[in-house]
Amino acid sequence: MRIGVVTFPGSLDDSSALRAIRLAGGDPVSLFHASDDLKEVQAVVLPGGFSYGDYLRCGAISRFAPIMESIIVAAEHGFPVLGICNGFQILTESHLLPGALIRNQDLHFVCTDQPLTVENTSTPWTNGYTQGQRIVVPIKNGEGSFQASAETLQQLEDEGRVVLRYADKNPNGSQNNIAGISNARGNVVGVMPHPEQAIEDLTGPSEDGLTFFTSILHSLVGR
């Protein structure tokens, strides 16, 4: 099962995402932003980091990378895409997902072990979780506050497209405690928390994040 991870200039969690795919049992494939070649991967992860330094709006430049042209076209045909943190920001900038991520409410970068609930288990990235499952996964970002118009929020809620929600405490002022969403079809998922940093008890707060990566393998097998 070939799963790609894109390295943009300034990507940071690309190596961790590759490791997560490997530990889940997949075949990780490194993809480079400057090429439009998806190397026959069956799904792709846009990893966390600060692509192009996030000096403009986060993700605003990466959206125009050659690899994104291929990903946008494929995603519109059901190709599974997971955006983590900066990857989520790139997906909203690409209009594959609605809404925007803005500065955290208290204006600080925040790194913490965040309790979450899994709200949607029908996406290819979350089918291994149980509905309402409580997980702990790190968040680490400065611009993680999810904002969307009232209309869009209503639509996301009505269509069950909120994938993850912050539990206990909202760390950044996100509307409706939203930590992750999907597109209407469910194949494109963006999350601010970092499941790739919760794959081993040794290095993470839990192993709860690994299910994102086993889920995608499972859903690809089932196709």
Partner: protein, 740 residues
């Protein structure tokens, strides 16, 4: 202004020159004239002024630092020692690790965010320059009183700068310190540590060999920021009424550094460079003169080829600029094409600016005219050396014993503990550390607030390294010789409690003005102490940094030697953390407590300093470290006791996993709780392992006492009941109240 060429300098020997404004002393200027046999050109003067600054030349510290050579430990682990960009040690399995601390104190006071950010950037490039991939950072920080208005300006900016740069670079921040003392008001300390890993064969050195090889500048373009940062900023005390020094602070671009790292590592992997040097303090002056003198000495530079952000910069400014995110490499001509290809892949600007030549002169031209003609060693290594006057400071004769409250009843004990753990130096630092990414790269095994930071090096073999930085400046104030020894021993203990074996030392020595004989004495005693303790512990000093002039007017900072110790752990899965993991564990203290409160936090919060630092007991500490390493299989939790004594240590142990404890002391309860006697560790073991632990303690001759048991949601000490909820509130709300 017309170009001041070598020819012009020769024909106008009497032109007056701004050597004083550039931070040089009269005799230093005369010395330069003697070396060159003429007056220096303005470009040469610029180079000498930055390279002969205290910061670059170590002119006041050199004669003391020699001891690290004279008392050097014979160590097979040391692959590269003092003198290169950073020391390198062998950790086995073909891996080499490099680590170093540097200060960025003055810039961080002037411009907290950029000062701290570029402090991180600078040390990371030092590590990268050795050929290593940087894998983690740490930042020991010191500030004036927590509630002082200026601390509210400086601290949030520095923390945001450390985070803003390090997070964007993708390096986990795994530890450090946040300490408050009034002597740091106006002189905050920003020390930044970086650790990197490589294979033995990948070690790179700053050397320009091979006539005809090319000098290539790559990375960011050169701008007008940071001009004279090392001379006018880092090598003088602050005085009121002087013009703002903000233009002397560099501006950082972490994204440029991130791509520079990836680009450089790809270049190293294909073995495309002969030598390499980063551009940090003193910029191009430093890089060219050090590379040249690291080789045979000959180098030609065509300065007009340097890509500029600001085309109006003069040659002198280009030579002095400390613009960040730049590297200088020596490359064989045949490898240039591939080198350029990799730079292009990462969108990194790279420009050939010169060649290695025969002979032993560094020649720099500007549009064909010779503006620098110097023996590079005289710039890089043969700076002035001062044997500054030293005198044991008078304050040492008027010290008085610490008179502190001695709580006895349960109510007094509870009140005292809550007071101590809420004090800024002991309070929970999450407000700071949650602004740093500790997870990135996915190999962080242990991070703050644990005793050390630990990083996995090899996923297959589970090899890892641990690092801790420590200083107790008040002990150094009371006795600088013992103070630095105690800092090193604490650092070793912090490494060993997490399960790693201490292997090597780095240091950052922060002091007041070397022109003050009392400060110079503190410095000399510190260096003597560090050289002695390194030898006694059998650990090599791999490098270090000296920061003088941390002084406002006649008020110097507490002597603050920050010691970093690197340890190795063969299997990171066996590491021990400080938090009590569950109820029903037996809690023991290793080592004994005396009633000396000098230099303790308990004394500090009562406005007391005390009179006598503890004596470093190397024999005891060596045995304790052995016990800790042998006992790793037994410990469910282990925690070093240092700042705040047992009261602070047990608070961290119970709050970590929200598992309480019941403790009963038989001795003097005030001392047991608040004295900071060195050489003590608290461990928790399964009751079935108690006998094995006692046997181990007996074997190593370490005093052991059972203090109680874990469990419940209350911390109970000699009848004082403190619900964990109350304990947590006191411990965690201080920073939020202070800094929002």
């Amino acid at each position: 202004m017309s170009l001041d060429t070598v020819a012009v300098a020769q024909s106008t020997p009497d032109n007056s020159q701004p050597w004083k404004e550039l931070g040089l002393k009269q005799d230093e200027y005369e010395n330069i004239r003697q070396i060159l046999g003429r007056r220096p050109t303005s470009s040469e003067l610029a180079m000498y002024s930055v390279m002969w600054s205290e910061h670059c030349s170590y002119k006041s510290s050199k004669i003391h630092l020699k001891q690290f050579g004279e008392k050097a430990v014979k160590s097979d682990a040391l692959l590269v020692g003092i003198g290169e960009n950073a020391g390198v040690v062998d950790i086995g399995q073909g891996y080499a690790v490099t680590f170093k601390i540097e200060s960025h104190n003055h810039p961080s006071f002037v411009e907290p965010y950029q000062g701290a950010a570029t402090g991180v950037g600078g040390i990371v490039r030092d590590i990268l320059t050795m050929g290593a991939r940087p894998i983690a950072v740490m930042d020991p920080l010191r500030f004036g009183p927590a509630d002082a208005p200026d601390t509210r300006r400086v601290l949030p900016g520095i923390v945001a700068g450390v985070g803003g740069y390090g997070n964007c670079l993708g390096l986990p921040n795994i530890g450090g310190e946040v300490v408050f003392d009034e002597t740091y008001a106006g002189n905050p300390l920003v020390n930044a540590l970086c650790v990197g890993v490589m294979k033995h064969s990948d070690i790179k050195l700053a050397t320009a060999h091979g006539t005809g090889n090319l000098v290539v500048l790559f990375g960011a373009k050169t701008g007008g920021d940071g001009i004279g940062g090392v001379s006018v900023l880092a090598s003088e005390t602050f005085a009121s009424g002087k013009a703002a020094k903000r233009p002397a602070v560099q501006v950082g671009d972490p994204f440029a550094e991130k791509v520079l790292i990836e680009c450089s590592l790809e270049i190293f992997a294909e073995d495309l460079v002969v030598g390499i040097q980063d551009l940090g303090g003193a910029g191009l002056s430093c890089a060219t003169s050090e590379l040249a003198s690291g080789g045979s000495g000959g180098m030609d530079i065509q300065l007009e080829k340097v890509p500029l952000r600001d085309p109006s910069l003069s040659p002198e400014e280009i030579l002095m600029s400390e613009s960040q995110e730049r590297m200088c490499a020596i490359i064989e001509p045949s490898k240039l094409a591939r080198f350029m290809q990799i730079c292009k892949k990462w969108d990194v600007t790279a420009t050939v600016i010169g060649q290695v030549t025969e002979g032993d002169r560094l020649h720099i031209t500007w549009n064909g005219e010779l503006i620098v003609d110097v023996p590079p060693r005289t710039v890089a290594h043969d700076g002035p050396v001062y044997n500054r006057p030293m005198q044991r400071p008078a304050y040492l004769d008027s010290l008085t014993p610490a008179k502190v409250p001695m709580p006895q009843t349960p109510a007094e004990i509870k009140e005292a503990i809550l007071k101590l753990i809420a004090s800024p130096n002991i309070a929970d630092k999450s407000w700071v550390t949650d602004q740093y990414d500790r997870y990135v790269r996915g190999d962080t095994v242990v991070s703050q607030p644990e005793d050390s930071g630990m990083i996995r090096i090899d996923e297959q073999t589970h090899l890892g390294v641990a690092i801790s930085t420590d200083a107790n400046a008040r002990w150094s104030y009371l006795d600088p010789y013992e103070g630095v020894k105690l800092a090193l021993l604490e650092s070793c203990r912090n490494i060993a409690v997490t399960g790693a074996k201490p292997l090597a030392i780095t240091n950052c020595l922060n002091f007041g003005s070397p022109e003050d004989p009392g400060v110079m004495w503190q410095f000399a005693e510190t260096v003597r102490g560090l050289a002695d303790i390194a030898l006694e512990m059998g650990l090599p000093v791999t490098g270090g940094n000296v920061s003088f002039y941390n002084q406002t007017g006649s008020v110097a900072i507490l002597p603050t030697p920050v010691i970093g110790v690197l340890g190795v752990i063969q299997d990171v899965r066996t590491r021990t953390k400080m938090g009590l993991p569950k109820a029903g564990l037996d809690i023991y203290q290793l080592g004994t407590t005396d009633n000396n409160f000098s230099g303790s936090e308990w004394a500090h919060i009562h406005g007391q300093m005390g009179d006598t630092a503890p004596k470093a007991d190397v024999d005891h500490e060596t045995r304790l470290v052995k016990l800790l390493l042998e006992g790793q299989g037994l410990f469910a939790a282990a925690h070093d006791l240092s700042d705040g004594g047992f009261a602070a240590g047990i608070t961290e142990m119970v709050l970590k996993n929200n598992v309480g404890a019941t403790i009963e002391f038989v001795g003097d309860i005030a001392a047991e709780l608040f004295a900071q006697t060195p050489g003590r560790v608290v461990v928790a073991v399964e009751p079935k392992d108690s006998d094995a632990l006692k046997a181990l303690a007996a074997k190593h001759g370490i005093a052991i006492a059972r203090l109680g048991q874990s469990g419940g949601d209350v911390l109970t000490i000699n009848g004082a009941h403190i619900p964990l909820v109350e304990l947590r509130k006191a411990h965690t709300e201080t920073f939020h109240k202070l800094f929002g």
